[in-house]
C-alpha cells in the first residue's frame, strides 16, 4: 500500500474532473432547475417555487404517463424474473437438453440496440405486412387488431417487446447464482427423497435471494426509464396510451422547450425510482440465507 497522497490524487484527478463536470454537476443543477420556469433562453429563468410541481399535479398527461410507466414496470417486473427463473433453473438443473445452445441464444436480444429491436418489432407488428398478423391469418383468424395502432393493445405490445429485449440478461444472472450453489446440497436433498420442486423451494430459491434483490433494483430502474422502445414504436401514442415519464420528459424539454417543467418531472421520476428501490431492498431485508 502506497501512502504518497499527492501521487495517488494525481492518478484520480483526470477521472474525477470528468465525472464531476459531466455527471455530478448536471445532476446537482437538476435540483435547482426543477424549481424554475425556463424556456431555454439563457438567463430568462424565473424562480417558480413549487409552481412546477403544482402544475404537474394538475397535468392529466403527467398522470397518464406515470400510470403507463408503472404498468410497464409492473408487468415486465413480473414476467421477466418469472421466465428467467424458470429458464435458469431448467438449464442449470439439467431438466432440458441443449442447455448451452439456449443459454447463448436467449442472450442475443441484449446485444442489439434498443432502437433496432424497436424498429424490428414495429415492422413485425404491422397489421398488414408484419409477421404476427400474417401468422395469425394463417391460423384462420380474421378481424385482428392493429396492435400498435390500438390503444388497448399497444401497451401490451410494449411490455412484450421489453420482455423479449431483456429476459436473457436476467437468465444469465440467475444461472450464475445457481451455479454458485454447491452440488452437495442437491445430492443431500435427493438422498432425503426430495424432488426437483422441493429442491427449488428449499435450496435454489432461498439461496438466490441476493441476486433477486439486485435484479428487482435493475428492473425498477429499467422500467421507470422506458424510452427507446416507446419512442421508436409508438412515440407515446395512440392517444398517449403508451406515453411514459421518460418520453414525456423528452417531449416537454426538447420538443416544447419547457426545460424547467421537464426537469421537475425528471426529479419526480428520480424520487419515485429511488424510494421504490430503497423500499424493495427494505422489504427483502431479512438476512441472506446461508446454509
Amino acid at each position: 500500500m502506497q501512502k504518497n497522497w499527492k501521487v495517488g490524487l494525481l492518478f484520480i484527478l483526470p477521472a474525477l474532473s470528468f465525472y464531476l463536470l459531466f455527471l455530478i454537476l448536471p445532476y446537482a443543477l437538476a435540483f435547482g432547475v426543477s424549481f424554475v420556469k425556463w424556456r431555454g433562453v439563457a438567463l430568462n429563468m424565473t424562480f417558480n417555487g413549487l409552481g412546477n410541481f403544482t402544475h404537474m399535479v394538475g397535468d392529466p398527461n403527467f398522470w397518464k404517463a406515470l400510470g403507463n410507466t408503472i404498468f410497464f414496470t409492473f408487468f415486465t417486473g413480473i414476467a421477466v424474473p418469472a421466465m428467467a427463473l424458470f429458464f435458469a433453473v431448467s438449464v442449470t438443473r439439467r431438466l432440458v437438453a441443449g442447455a448451452r445452445f439456449f443459454r447463448i441464444t436467449y442472450f442475443f436480444p441484449n446485444l442489439i440496440s434498443q432502437v433496432a429491436i424497436a424498429v424490428l418489432w414495429w415492422f413485425a407488428l404491422n397489421p398488414e405486412f408484419g409477421i404476427l398478423s400474417n401468422f395469425l391469418r394463417l391460423l384462420g383468424l380474421t378481424s385482428l387488431p392493429s396492435w400498435l395502432g390500438d390503444p388497448a393493445w399497444a401497451p401490451w405490445c410494449i411490455v412484450a417487446v421489453k420482455v423479449w429485449a431483456s429476459m436473457g440478461f436476467y437468465m444469465v444472472l440467475y444461472v450464475s447464482a445457481i451455479e454458485g450453489i454447491p452440488e452437495d446440497y442437491y445430492d443431500a436433498a435427493r438422498i432425503d427423497g426430495a424432488g426437483e420442486w422441493h429442491s427449488f423451494i428449499h435450496i435454489t430459491f432461498p439461496l438466490l435471494s441476493e441476486m433477486m434483490k439486485v435484479s428487482v433494483v435493475f428492473l425498477l430502474l429499467n422500467g421507470f426509464g422506458t424510452f427507446d422502445v416507446v419512442r421508436i414504436m409508438t412515440d407515446g401514442g395512440p392517444d398517449r396510451a403508451t406515453e411514459t415519464l421518460a418520453t414525456y420528459i423528452y417531449e416537454n424539454a426538447f420538443e416544447l422547450g419547457k426545460f424547467g417543467y421537464a426537469t421537475t418531472i425528471a426529479m419526480t421520476l428520480f424520487l419515485i425510482t429511488f424510494s421504490l428501490a430503497l423500499f424493495s431492498l427494505w422489504l427483502q431485508r431479512r438476512e441472506a440465507v446461508e446454509y
Binding site: 492518478f11 483526470p14 463536470l21 455527471l23 439439467r94 432440458v96 440496440s113 415492422f123 423479449w164
Partner: protein, 282 residues
C-alpha cells in the same frame, strides 16, 4: 453433457423442452426474418411477409450504405465508440489503480462518490447536460458526446477495476519501486498489463452499450453528418415509412446488429462472466 438429465417424468421433460424450443423460435426467428428480408425488394416485402427473396441481391445494402448514409453513420459510431473506450479506460484505470493501491485520507469517500453515479436516472441530468455542453461549445460535436459517454462510464469502470487491482499483490509494486520505477511507469508497464482481464470485461461492456446508445446521442447531436448508427436508423425508419421503401431500412438494421452479435459469439464466455461480476458487487 456431463451428467444425465434429471429424473423428471417424461411428460414433464417433453413439456419443458417444448417451452424452450418455442422461446428460442421467438428469439431467433424475428432476427432470421430480418436478415433475409434485407435481401428482398420493397415490392417483395409488401407482397409476402414470409417468402424468401427471389434473388439474393445486395442492392438494399448498397442503397443503405451510400444513399441512406448508413456507411457514414457506421464510421461515426466506430469513431465515437473507440474514442470513448480509449478515454474511459485510460482515466478510469488510473483512478481505480490509485483507489486500490494508494492509501490517503478521503480515498474511500472518493470511491463511493464514483459509485454514486450509478444511482441516478439519465433523464434527471438530461436538460442541465444539454445546456452545460451548449455553454462549453461542445453541443452537436463528437467530442462532447465522447466526453459525456466517458464520464457516464466511469462509475462502472472504477467499480470493476478497483476490485481487480485489489487482487494484484502489493509486493509487485514494492519490487518495482525498489528498482527505481517512476509511479507512472509502474502503473503503465507493470500494473496495467496485469489488469488485462478486468480491462477486457469493462471494454466489452462499454463497446456494447456505447454502440447501442440512443438517448444521449439524440439530445446532444443535431447535425445529420454527425449521427451515430442508432440515431441514423431511427431517422431512417421515419423517412422510409413515408417513402414506403423498406429494403434499405432492413439492411441498415442488419448493419447495426452485426458487430455486437459477432463480438458476443467470439467473447461469449467473458461477457457471461462480466455480467456476474457487475451484478454481484453492484
Amino acid at each position: 453433457m456431463a451428467r444425465p438429465l434429471s429424473d423428471l417424468h417424461l411428460a414433464r421433460k417433453i413439456w419443458i423442452q417444448a417451452v424452450f424450443l418455442g422461446y428460442s423460435v421467438l428469439v431467433i426467428f424475428p432476427m432470421v426474418w430480418l436478415v433475409y428480408t434485407a435481401f428482398k425488394s420493397t415490392d417483395e416485402i409488401f407482397a409476402s411477409a414470409w417468402s424468401l427473396p427471389a434473388t439474393w441481391k445486395l442492392d438494399n445494402f448498397v442503397e443503405a450504405w451510400t444513399e441512406a448514409r448508413v456507411g457514414e453513420f457506421f464510421w461515426n459510431s466506430i469513431f465515437v465508440t473507440v474514442s470513448t473506450l480509449a478515454l474511459q479506460l485510460f482515466v478510469g484505470s488510473m483512478a481505480s489503480y490509485s483507489l486500490a493501491k494508494y492509501h490517503f485520507r478521503g480515498s474511500s469517500y472518493l470511491y463511493y462518490t464514483f459509485l454514486a453515479g450509478m444511482m441516478f436516472p439519465i433523464f434527471l441530468g438530461l436538460v442541465p447536460l444539454f445546456f452545460l455542453l451548449k455553454t462549453l461549445h461542445l453541443l452537436d460535436s463528437h467530442l462532447g458526446l465522447i466526453l459525456v459517454y466517458s464520464a457516464f462510464g466511469i462509475p462502472f469502470t472504477v467499480f470493476v477495476l478497483t476490485a481487480f487491482f485489489r487482487t494484484i499483490p502489493t509486493t509487485i509494486m514494492e519490487a518495482g519501486i525498489m528498482d527505481g520505477c517512476s509511479h507512472f511507469t509502474l502503473f503503465w508497464r507493470v500494473m496495467l498489463p496485469l489488469a488485462k482481464p478486468g480491462l477486457t470485461t469493462v471494454g466489452i461492456f462499454t463497446f456494447i452499450s456505447i454502440w447501442n446508445e440512443y438517448i444521449l446521442a439524440l439530445v446532444l447531436l443535431s447535425s445529420s453528418h454527425l449521427r451515430t448508427l442508432p440515431l441514423g436508423i431511427a431517422v431512417l425508419q421515419f423517412v422510409q415509412f413515408y417513402e414506403a421503401d423498406f429494403g434499405a431500412l432492413f439492411a441498415g438494421l442488419v448493419i447495426v446488429m452485426l458487430p455486437t452479435l459477432i463480438c458476443y459469439l467470439i467473447l461469449q464466455e467473458q461477457i457471461t462472466k462480466g455480467i456476474t461480476v457487475g451484478a454481484v458487487k453492484g
